[in-house]
Amino acid sequence: MKYLLGRLAVFPLVMLGVSVFVFVAIRLVPGDAITAMLGTEGGMLTPAQREALAAYFGLDQNWAVQYFRWLGGLFRGDLGISVTYGQPVLDIILERFPLTLQLALMSMVVALAIGLPAGVFAATRANKPSDLIVRIFAMMGQSMPNFVVALLSIYILSVGFGVLPTMGRFVTFSENPLGNLAQMILPSIALGTAFAAAVTRITRAAMMDILSEDYVRTARSQGFSQGYVIWRHALPNALIPVLTLSGVEFGYLLGGAVIVEQIFALPGLGRVVLDAILERDYALVQGVILFIAFNFMLVNLLVDLAYAALDPRIRYGGKS
């Protein structure tokens, strides 16, 4: 409990740090909203026109003024207005986050559904041909970037079958469950397979460690079946490193999967950030990054808590 409170106390500090960092970083990038909007045509503006636009985009104040104005809004739950969307940043985040969350969850399901059984299978057949085959597949999966999987799947489907999940016209799950799943399944597979390979390898290594431990051998000698020992005794312990890995990966996925979102034209958070950076939409970049950072920390905290629940040997602040 004390540990939890300590962790929670750090939250605001980290968020403040992130907010300053993002605020400065995005402004250090050359070009501003005016450059992004006008391109080389910006050279056609008279000085008075340029000033008017700078005032419109809020670029006429110095950084400190801009920052504290934004921070003040933040405490009132106002993340500012996006100049490219013409709507409040918070609305955009809330509109796009469900997609990102769904994609992250589905990718995790794909990864764990493939990775856990494959890892256990390989560990129980250590150094046999079947183990080798699983390991080769895992190596391939890990070394193939997710966008390659994505592009290949689009190519094979569109050229070979003349079909494709609907792209660019996203429907939410609540509007149309089937249509939504049809749109999300390919991106989830593209994102999930690379991670599945990592899960396979970690599961296999952890299982092999545990299967050689004393208590497992004891359990076996008492006549428990192989399957019972593996699933009941060994796997929960082997899950700990998998959980850590999955937590970190999930945290990343909540930040949006930029490349896969680009390829499948999904309007998730990753693309929102990318477009916002390219269009120098400062308020939107700041708001979304802050939101992503918050999610990342939250997921990490939950993972650490689950850790303690899973492994009674771990006692924070106590004797290890």
Partner: protein, 505 residues
């Protein structure tokens, strides 16, 4: 792919059909349009971006419009005339023209729109084209008179742009132009999610006639290859393609048609005469002689385009082979280099923007290898677009590979660079009396034949002085499925031709 069993095919098709059928309720006839870059805003006066203009042209109207032959056609105005002294330009508005909110378009709206464009507070992007307008008279609801400070022949063509669109005076007052579209064009905007999708409906009361289908659904697919996949799978009927490499794949696909039109925008190697040694005329000419333009075009754009001189508009464009050193001549390049005092060549940096256009880095690389043959050593600096723009506007480069926008009228296209008081003279960094004089003569002259001669002289002098090395024009591409017919491309890249399209049942 023949190994795939038909059962698997049928199942996959059925699944996809099921999912699309479920995703889109069966509705009236709509055109599914896909493009990779979305509009960056909705205010027609402040947005110069190619993608934004493509969208807004379907909803807002200027007074006049350019057809696919770049001839002026009526839009909101049904007729127009200059006074004999060239100081008054009078428009008669189409009495049937109506805004999407049902109010008629009147001369008061035209006046309010141009007052807004000319007001520096607005930040209107094309303002420089209309500064010769000193007064706007509206004798009645259907008549607008622009009073000019001097004869200005290019003004009419300059008005044929959505950046000079007529918007409702009430929308200006309410300040809603950035968030809401109330135009007088063929389509209304029903819904839009930036960088994702937009829904347009045909506007029944459009004064220009009837559109043969009910609306357009636009999808933004950021990856150009995904556009092709969407066409193949029948998810898109029509797509706007930027990347020539993707465009060349379209004709190889059964059932797809590629429309290409040569653009007005031109690829150019800009030399910065303010940087040593580019101030030397002989050295600049040497660079021009060392380059084989057709070879750059073939290697970097797969030959998809045409070698050009400075003038790219069909009415003024001529065979460029008569211009200074338009055939590669390496011996002459070496002589000129020696004359400039650089017999052993020199080293310079060339900037280019990443992915803008997609072919920029290839163009830079081919030029690099061609110049190395005469001893000129180029270092390529690839920059993110905004960084490139900042450096370009500050003239902070030795050389730059650029794709610059073209206009129908040579004066409107080049006065920014090649007149003494041009807004971008500081970027061009070269000017002489001949260029300045010819430009201003061309502005005041109204006789077409005389203008062609003036700009012909301007072009050959510009090519000889070689402040920049003009290379070629590319193409603007759209692709369509068999169900779409009647679309005509235009060199401006406009999609306005969609109003004449019919869709198969």
């Amino acid at each position: 792919m023949k190994t795939i069993t038909s059962t698997a095919k049928t199942t996959a098709r059925a699944l996809a059909l099921l999912s699309t059928a479920l995703a889109a309720p069966l509705s009236a006839q709509t055109l599914d349009l896909a493009w990779s870059q979305d509009a960056t805003g909705l205010d027609p006066h402040t947005q110069p971006g190619f993608a934004t203009i493509r969208l807004l042209e379907l909803m807002y109207e200027p007074l006049v419009r350019l057809d696919e032959g770049l001839e002026l056609q009526p839009a909101l105005a049904e007729s127009w005339s200059f006074s004999d002294d060239g100081l008054q330009l009078t428009f008669q508005l189409d009495g049937d023209a109506m805004f999407h909110d049902g109010t008629p378009v009147t001369s008061a709206d035209v006046r309010a729109s141009f007052e807004r464009i000319l007001d520096e507070e607005t930040g209107a992007i094309a303002r420089a084209n209309y500064t010769s307008i000193i007064n706007i008279e509206t004798p009645d609801d259907a008549t607008v008179i622009f009073e000019l400070d001097a004869p200005n022949a290019p003004l009419l063509n300059g008005l044929a742009s959505v950046n000079a669109a007529v918007v409702p005076a009430s929308a200006i007052e309410a300040g809603t132009l950035g968030t809401q579209v109330i135009g007088s064009g063929p389509f209304t905007l029903d819904a839009r999610t930036p960088n994702a999708s937009a829904n347009l409906s045909a506007f029944d009361a459009w004064h220009g006639g009837d559109v043969a289908y009910d609306g357009i659904n636009i999808s933004v697919l950021p990856d150009e290859t995904a556009l092709l996949a969407a066409l193949r799978a029948g998810q898109a009927d029509f797509a706007l393609i930027n990347d020539p490499l993707v465009a060349t794949l379209v004709p190889r696909t059964e059932g797809l048609q590629l429309n290409a039109a040569p653009t007005l925008s031109y690829y150019v190697l800009q030399l910065n005469a303010a940087r040593e040694p580019m101030g030397e005329l002989a050295l600049r000419q040497a660079i021009g002689c060392a380059i084989d333009r057709q070879d750059v075009l073939d290697a970097a754009l797969l030959g998809e385009g045409e070698v050009t001189g400075p003038l790219t508009s069909p009415a003024y464009r001529t065979d460029p082979s008569g211009l200074f050193c338009y055939e590669q001549d390496q011996d002459r390049a070496r002589e000129l280099l020696a004359e400039a005092g650089y017999a052993d060549g020199f080293t310079a940096t060339v900037i280019a923007a990443n992915g803008e256009p997609p072919t920029a880095s290839a163009v830079a690389q081919v030029i690099q290898s061609q110049l190395s043959e005469v001893g000129i050593n180029l270092e390529i600096e690839m920059l993110e677009l905004s960084v490139y723009i900042d450096r370009w506007l500050a003239a902070d480069f030795d050389m730059a590979v650029a794709l610059n926008g073209g206009r129908v009228d040579p004066y409107t296209m080049y006065n920014r660079y090649w007149t003494r008081d041009g807004n971008l003279q500081g970027v061009a960094n070269y000017i002489d009396d001949t260029l300045d004089t010819l430009m201003n003569e061309g502005r005041a002259e109204t006789d077409e034949a005389a203008r062609a001669e003036i700009f012909g002289n301007f072009e050959s002098h510009l090519a000889e002085m070689s402040p920049w090395i003009w290379l070629f024009t590319g193409n603007t591409y759209t692709a369509q499925t068999e169900g779409v017919s009647g679309f005509v491309s235009s060199p401006t890249g406009t999609l306005f031709g969609l109003v004449d399209v019919t869709l198969a049942e």
